[in-house]
């Protein structure tokens, strides 16, 4: 009888611990879908826990790590899709930060608020309703904007802002790429590499803020920011994440 009672006490304390954890914070988003290993590092902790069964609640300050997995996060207004080997910190409903990998943001227009700010190693992206991909490639950070308008602010002081235009008449753009279809990916990648060699880089200005337009990408590395039509590489990343999300 004693043993059973002890177990009951233990179970009760475990349950209450879970309750405390749930009551510890107000979830501001949930991992609604995932594949592979997805870990969550709770705010202020070192040891990560598995996202486990979806929907898995996320609190302010939680970090989501995907290894060979992918994760879809939803809040009231936004959808955030993490590619493999990515790290996203959700600071609050208005602030997120990408420190690793590729993350696709689909942000609903917010009424009166200032919108969502996405911090990267090199920049802060301010958005009010748009769809864009953030990719930290180690050497630099790229932003590809699919829809809407975003404002990219440097956290590294002034950037040399360049705009690339193809020297060849035909532009291999993301729109072209979409028409080509998946079968032509390899061919297109080669063509894109060749195309990239032909572009002309034109200096615009030294700025701390760059406003991007839909269908363009911005590549920041060091003190340079290069703006161009969204190319095949980021275009395919963006498309892949959208396809994965749609399949869920």
């Amino acid at each position: 009888v004693k043993k059973v009672a002890a177990s009951a006490v233990l179970l009760a304390s475990l349950a209450s611990a879970a309750a405390v954890r749930a009551a510890d914070c107000v979830p501001i988003a949930h991992v609604t879908n995932l594949e592979g290993q997805v870990s969550i590092k709770p705010a202020g902790k070192v040891v990560k826990r598995s996202a486990g069964k979806t929907p898995s609640p996320l609190c302010a300050g939680d970090e989501i790590h995907t290894f060979q997995g992918r994760a879809l996060i939803k809040s009231d207004q936004d959808q955030i899709t993490l590619d493999r080997d990515s790290v996203l910190l959700i600071k609050s409903q208005e602030h997120a930060s990408v420190s690793r990998g590729k993350v696709l943001f689909d942000i609903q227009k917010r009424g009166t608020s200032t919108g969502l700010q996405v911090a990267t190693r090199l920049s802060v992206i301010g958005v009010k309703g748009t769809s864009f991909l953030v990719a930290d490639k180690g050497s630099g950070v790229s932003v590809a904007l699919a829809e809407g308008v975003v404002d990219v602010a440097s956290t590294q002081g002034q950037l040399g802002h360049y705009r690339e235009k193809p020297a060849a008449a035909k532009e291999a753009t993301f729109e072209d790429f979409k028409r080509e279809g998946a079968a032509a990916v390899d061919k297109e990648k080669q063509a894109f590499a060749a195309y990239k060699d032909q572009v002309q880089r034109e200096f615009v200005a030294y700025v701390e803020n760059i406003t991007m337009e839909a269908g363009t990408e911005l590549e920041i590395s060091g003190q340079t920011a290069v703006e161009r039509k969204t190319g095949a590489e980021l275009g395919s990343d963006l498309q892949a994440l959208r396809t994965w999300r749609a399949s869920r």
């Binding site: 870990s39 070192v46 040891v47 598995s50 290894f67 060979q68 690793r100």
Partner: protein, 639 residues
């Protein structure tokens, strides 16, 4: 001997110097096995000076002889082990240097898992271990939760095979960590890995994972030119393979406890409150014993050493190649300066001091700055540079000797040249004011004779004449200054000191007159010329002697009034009807030894009063060369 290297010597020296510096830097960068072993043989001794003790918060809980005596042979049954582990629930963290990869009964495995679950327990995995298993979904999740993600540009070793504890034990573990360690090229353990790649994730080492939990700060790995392992602002230097150098403490300084204590009836788990427990096996026959610079070390203590280094601020930073290369160049340049020391013993002392200084600097940097300097590279560099310096000094002095020999062999008898070469300090080159005796000789009426005979005949006559005349001078230790047409100029008391220079010059003059007689006999036999007569002037006085001339051509000679006077005395021989005329000062020095006759006075430029000149009556003196007396009575020839 002053060291003045020629341009080509300097270039060669600089080339070899740079070769040594670059070669050592390259060896330092790549450290092939034998090099690393040799370098470590020197630097490993630094650890003996380690004044620190590991943090008392790190407790080495060991399955030792006492524990085995109490609970039987290791491995123990898992419920027995669980009984002890359950008493670790008050600790800050438990780091397990063990993997439970083989299942026993589910009840026992679960009991152990549950016991681990009472504390924050970091479990071990062996990457590329002997019993690899395919992790299930839950284990993959645990591995993902254990992995580091704040990683940039770092190269780490890895594998896709892993030895794990059985799932029932894993379920009680807070997180996992790699137990792998790798020895240096000489099979000694000195470096601790930050982590390894496994299934495209980075698993931290046991020490790194435990430190994350204890500090409640996630670790970051930054690669590039200055790889570091960071815990917030705390930075630990890594080498380019992601390892950090451990700062070893003597084993006895660790706070250690036998596992047997946990089973004693009165043991209070509260005594371990807040401690970081590293659990490992030391019992002989079971344990992993690792060779370290401080001797045999239980493997678990490598993890404990890393933890204590990080917690106590005793981590080490090794000098990277650019810094080390600079240090090598500076130290070798200083060694090269030793060349300026003239005495061999001073140079040897300087080399010794530089070697001791390099080792001492390494030890001091280790003790006071946490920098690791491989002083063996400096010591080898100093030795090589010392060899370079000594060989170039040797070849330089050889060259110098050759120069001396060729410079003097034309005007000095070979025995004197040897004396100069043997002891160059006796020779003073360059101008020097000195009292010397100068001898001038000239064939009387030679100029008019040279017009009347054929050129080749003249050359033959001069050849027959100069040889015995020069020998006569050399025999008396004189220096042949030069031939001027048919005239000879010789110096005594230069360049080497010759105390009886006046007498020697006079003896040479006498010998020359006897030689003249023999030359005349030869000439007569060959029917070459009429009888020759030689007038000789000898004078003693101060003159400037040395290598005089221009850079294009210079000559060892003497200049001064006394030299001019000697020439004047020689010119006067015909007028006064004497064969050898000597000046006043020479006369004063030889009058007691040789028969002389006053000839009167002549006035000399540069002298206020006229000079008395003397005839040296050579026919009254036997030939200094052969000892023969003159055949005719002196008076018969005089006039």
């Amino acid at each position: 001997m002053p060291v003045e290297l020629s341009r080509s010597q300097g270039v060669r020296l600089a080339g070899i110097f740079l070769g040594i510096a670059l070669g050592l830097s390259a060896l330092f960068h790549w450290q092939p096995g034998p090099t690393a072993g040799l370098a470590s043989a020197v630097s490993d001794t630094y650890y003996r000076f380690n004044p620190h003790a590991p943090s008392a918060d790190v407790v080495f809980l060991k399955v030792d002889h006492d524990a085995v005596k109490r609970l039987g042979r290791w491995p123990w049954s898992r419920d027995a082990l669980a009984e002890g582990v359950a008493k670790l629930d008050k600790t800050a963290a438990v780091a397990l240097d063990m993997v439970f990869s083989e299942p026993t009964t589910p009840a026992q495995d679960q009991a152990l898992g549950a016991a681990f679950g009472k504390a924050t327990t970091v479990g071990g995995i062996f990457i590329n271990g002997v019993l690899p298993s395919q992790p299930d979904e839950a284990t993959m999740n645990l591995l993902a939760n254990s992995a580091l993600t704040d990683i940039h540009d770092i190269v780490l070793g890895g594998s896709d095979a892993v030895e794990l504890s059985v799932p029932d034990v894993l379920s009680g573990l807070t997180t996992l960590a790699s137990l792998n360690t790798l020895p240096d090229a000489d099979e000694r353990f000195r470096h601790y890995p930050a982590g390894f790649r496994l299934f495209k994730m980075v698993q931290p080492s046991l020490g790194v994972q435990t430190l994350q939990i204890v500090l409640n700060t996630p670790a970051s790995l930054q690669g590039g030119t200055d790889p570091t392992l960071g815990f917030g602002t705390r930075k630990i230097q890594l080498d380019r393979d992601g390892y950090t150098r451990l700062n070893f403490y003597p084993v006895a300084r660790f706070k250690a406890m036998s596992m047997a204590r946990l089973y004693e009836p009165g043991f209070d788990p509260a005594t371990l409150t807040g401690k970081i427990v590293v659990l490992g096996v030391t019992e002989a026959g079971v344990t992993d014993i690792r060779a370290t610079p401080l001797g045999q070390y239980p493997g678990a203590l490598l993890h404990a050493t890393f933890l204590a280094n990080a917690l106590g601020g005793h981590t080490l930073s090794e000098l990277r190649t650019p810094t080390m290369g600079t240090v090598i160049v500076i130290v070798l340049a200083i060694t090269l300066l030793v060349m300026l020391l003239r005495q061999l013993w001073l140079r040897l002392l300087a080399y010794g001091l530089l070697i001791a200084g390099s080792y001492g600097a390494g030890a001091l940097l280790y003790l006071y700055a946490g920098f690791w300097l491989e002083s063996a590279f400096l010591i080898v560099g100093i030795l090589l540079t010392a060899m370079l310096v000594e060989t170039s000094l040797l070849s330089h002095s050889k060259l110098h000797t050759e120069k001396l020999r060729t410079a003097f062999s034309t005007y000095l008898p070979p025995s004197l040249v040897n004396r100069i070469v043997d002891d160059p300090d006796k020779l003073k080159l360059g101008g020097e004011k000195k009292v010397i005796t100068v001898l001038f000789s000239d064939i009387r009426g030679f100029t008019s004779m040279s017009e009347s005979i054929e050129a080749d005949q003249l050359a033959t006559i001069l050849g027959l004449y100069f040889q015995p005349m020069t020998e006569a001078i050399f025999k008396q230790g004189g220096t042949l200054d030069k031939y001027i047409g048919d005239a000879i100029m010789a110096l005594f008391n230069a360049p080497l000191d010759q105390p009886d220079h006046a007498l020697a010059a006079c003896r040479a003059a006498i010998a020359m007159q006897y030689a003249q007689l023999r030359i005349n006999e030869v000439l007569q036999k060959q029917g070459l010329a009429e009888q020759l007569r030689t007038g000789i002037g000898v004078n003693t006085g101060q003159a400037v002697v040395g290598n005089l001339g221009s850079s294009i051509r210079f000559n060892y000679t003497a200049v001064g009034d006394s030299v001019n006077l000697a020439s004047r005395l020689e010119s006067s021989t015909k007028k006064v009807g004497a064969d050898i005329v000597i000046g006043e000062s020479t006369h004063a020095l030889v009058k007691d030894a040789l028969p002389c006759r006053a000839l009167g006075e002549i006035s000399v430029a540069g002298k206020e009063r006229p000079q008395t000149i003397y005839e040296l009556c050579w026919k009254d003196v036997p030939d200094p060369a052969t000892g023969e007396r003159h055949k005719a009575p002196a008076t018969a020839v005089a006039g």
